[in-house]
Amino acid sequence: MAQRLPEVDVVLVGMGWTGALLAKELTDAGLKVVGLERGRARQTVPDFQSPTMHDELRYAVRHGLMLDPSTETLTFRNFTSQTALPIRQLGSFLPGVNLGGAGVHWNGQTWRFQESDFVLRSHLRQRYGEDIIQDGLTIQDWGLTYAELEPFYDRFERICGIGGIVGNLRGEIQPGGDPFEPPRSNPFPNPPMPQPYAAALFARAAEQAGAHPFPVPTANLSRPYTNPYGCAMQPCNACGFCERFGCEHFAKASPQVCVLPKVLGHERFELRTGSTVTRVNYDRQGKRATGVTYINGRGQEVEQPAAIVALCAFSYHNVRLLLLSGIGTPYDPRSGEGTLGKNYTYQTMSGVSVFMDPDVNLNPYMGAGALGTAVNDWNGEAFDHSGLGFVGGAYIAAYQTGGRPIERHPVPQDTPRWGAGWKQAVRRHYNSTLSLTVHGSSMPHRGNYLDLDPTYRDSLGNPLLRMTFDFPANDRLMSDYVTDRAVDIANRIGGKVEAARRTGLYSVVPYQTTHNTGGAIMGQTPRDSVVNRYLQHWDAHNLFVMGACTYPHNPGYNPTDTVGALALWAARAIRDDYIGNPRPLVPA
């Protein structure tokens, strides 16, 4: 029998970026908020300290900051005709755990989506006609517009202290920035970091190819800064230990640095760590969530009633919790009916390597998570897709995130995999190989979805989430097209150029990105989506679902900026519109 606690105003499931932002915004609104985090508490001091944080084996290779798959993992298959098997060790993506979630170990590459992304189906049909969208692609409009979200992008970027050069200021194209970005109401709060040699070589070659290079917007701070919440940040020193690591310098935007200092200890906020939520309790007749049930650190079942429930866990964990709670209609890939689990998308990645002369010193260890230069000439709707046979696109970037040698020792494809030849090649190419990332969009396909696995269970005995996914033909064509553009630029840099194309079936083994999106998507009606434009569940108006699981498709950009913007947008709707008159904010 679960212990039943007194009701609170708001219960948050998960305390990463979105949980921290909602905790701040809703306690400011006068609400009593409880944050449930299944992991433990951690802070910059004492948990992320140099030099011990700079341990590639412990954190990058053995995944020291990631969710332990022995407690919970997913099962995976490419097609419904296969039997899904558990992802027994982490690989393709790395979900976080503990206070701050993946907001601790991200890189800080902070991109806005394009205006067309929010109205993608309407936009594509209007620009190209009906036939541009391939059969099976379940592309839809998001239910809100870029213009509506813009102030919240701006706010999140100020909370993070993003550095960059504005490319489009209220419709005016600015020199040095990204001419294809959507209009910004303000310049970036901080300048970009100085760009390394590889980025400069890429920028020159990209310009020769007719493209428009600019420094990637970065959440690695370029100067001391105090954000709108009053949290102080310090400049990044380019140590090269960013992704998969916690920052000891207060220099990478994270919940710990940017939000939690103003939340933890607040009289209206209570953090409960070691608390794994297993159900959202649901009043089916009243169409209301009544609270959540969780297992506390002692293994006891606890019921926490709440007037508002917000799911703030990592993308697919939110989807799993909705499935375990029986809220909403699971998607059926045969009939196309149901919405929960639908439109699971990912990120379509490829790369190009330039093996330069050995006397070229690129010094790859002088890195930071979002340090680099990119072009968006072939991303989203920045280019004309007429006659190309696909929609979507990718940015091409020369990132220099760090030169940690266990995982980064590039060699040409004809190098032996071991022995003297391998050893010589590793030595020869370590400091003189320039790598380009082709970071592509992922379009939803009716065969790609999330549901509960019929066989495998987590350590508490609940069904694992089952992922069914392969890259649609549309995305393979897109990736090849933009990879060709990257090869063209690479050839102008000078050196031996090799492309690692998006070939074969999707595999959960090699790391690609932790940009898992969709599954609890937003939209205009309950027929096509799980939540409305305010991330409010269609079947329970006091249940809000945060995160990238709400994206109907995944554009060719990193998802975090939009995760933060949508959380602030939803928080504003809850504060200004919902609390005074709880109801569905969009008529069904």
């Binding site: 140099s50 030099p51 290779v61 995944h63 798959p69 490419n78 027994r88 390394p196 010094n363 266990i406």
Partner: protein
């Protein structure tokens, strides 16, 4: 995305830190009954038997052989590194989902064997020793290097054909652990004298370079230092001032 990740469907590479630093070779024992001439320091193995350690050492020194300038896997302490990993949490299958049922699966579904890393090594090393003895008529360690490489290629391709497990699953894990041991921080027992880092030119884990970013093409040749050296410098920097 890199070519060396392409075969990792078979690879057991994930697990939590074996947080216990390795003891290096111990000092030579002095004992009344021991001869007066100094003996080579015995290596204390925490996981391997002496025979297993001998076989592993011979294999990894072909994967990363010594050359005129830089020592190979054995000189870098890779066998000691792997021994420590297998004796610790990673070897025991930490961060590995181990519930059944087990099925072979596709390469895209990744590692699906029921073995922990420690079990994979124990089982495989015995199979490899027997298979080499049966096929080549001697121990792996005694083979000509050309034949050692041939045997390793058979393990790599799966042609060695063991019934208990696919030989390539073991080979891929051994290869990954060898690279880890050659290039990880020396506190784990490998990368001895920072040979791997000196070879590629990686200056080690503790530094900040923001003021050097725009010095394009800089020949940055500072000798590497590991976490232990950085910690010592850090401690000296913050040494408490003696009062009184």
């Amino acid at each position: 995305m890199t070519p060396d990740l392409s075969r990792r469907g078979l690879l057991l590479s994930s697990g939590s830190l074996a947080a216990v630093p390795l003891t290096g070779p111990t000092e030579a024992q002095s004992h009344d009954t021991m001869p007066a001439t100094p003996m080579a320091a015995p290596t204390l193995w925490r996981f391997f038997t002496a025979d297993q350690a001998s076989l592993v050492a011979a294999m990894v020194d072909r994967l990363i052989p010594p050359d005129a300038e830089f020592t190979g896997a054995v000189g870098a302490g890779v066998p000691q590194f792997i021994d420590g990993q297998l004796a610790g949490a990673w070897g025991s299958g930490a961060r590995l989902y181990r519930l059944g049922p087990f099925a072979e699966g596709t390469p895209e579904q990744g590692y699906q064997l029921p073995y922990t890393p420690a079990e994979l090594y124990r089982t495989s090393l015995s199979l490899v020793a027997d298979w080499v003895r049966g096929g080549y008529g001697s121990r792996f360690e005694e083979l000509d290097p050309r034949l050692q490489d041939e045997a390793l290629r058979s393990l790599e391709s799966g042609e060695a054909g063991f019934s208990e497990l696919p030989s390539d699953a073991f080979f891929e894990t051994l290869l990954a652990n060898t690279v880890e041991g050659f290039l990880s921080d020396p506190m784990y027992g490998g990368n001895r004298d920072m040979v791997g880092w000196r070879m590629v030119g990686f200056p080690g884990p503790y530094a900040g370079y923001v003021n050097l970013l725009d010095r394009h093409g800089l020949n940055f040749n500072r000798p590497p230092r590991g976490i232990a050296e950085a910690l010592r410098e850090h401690a000296q920097h913050h040494a408490p001032t003696l009062q009184r």
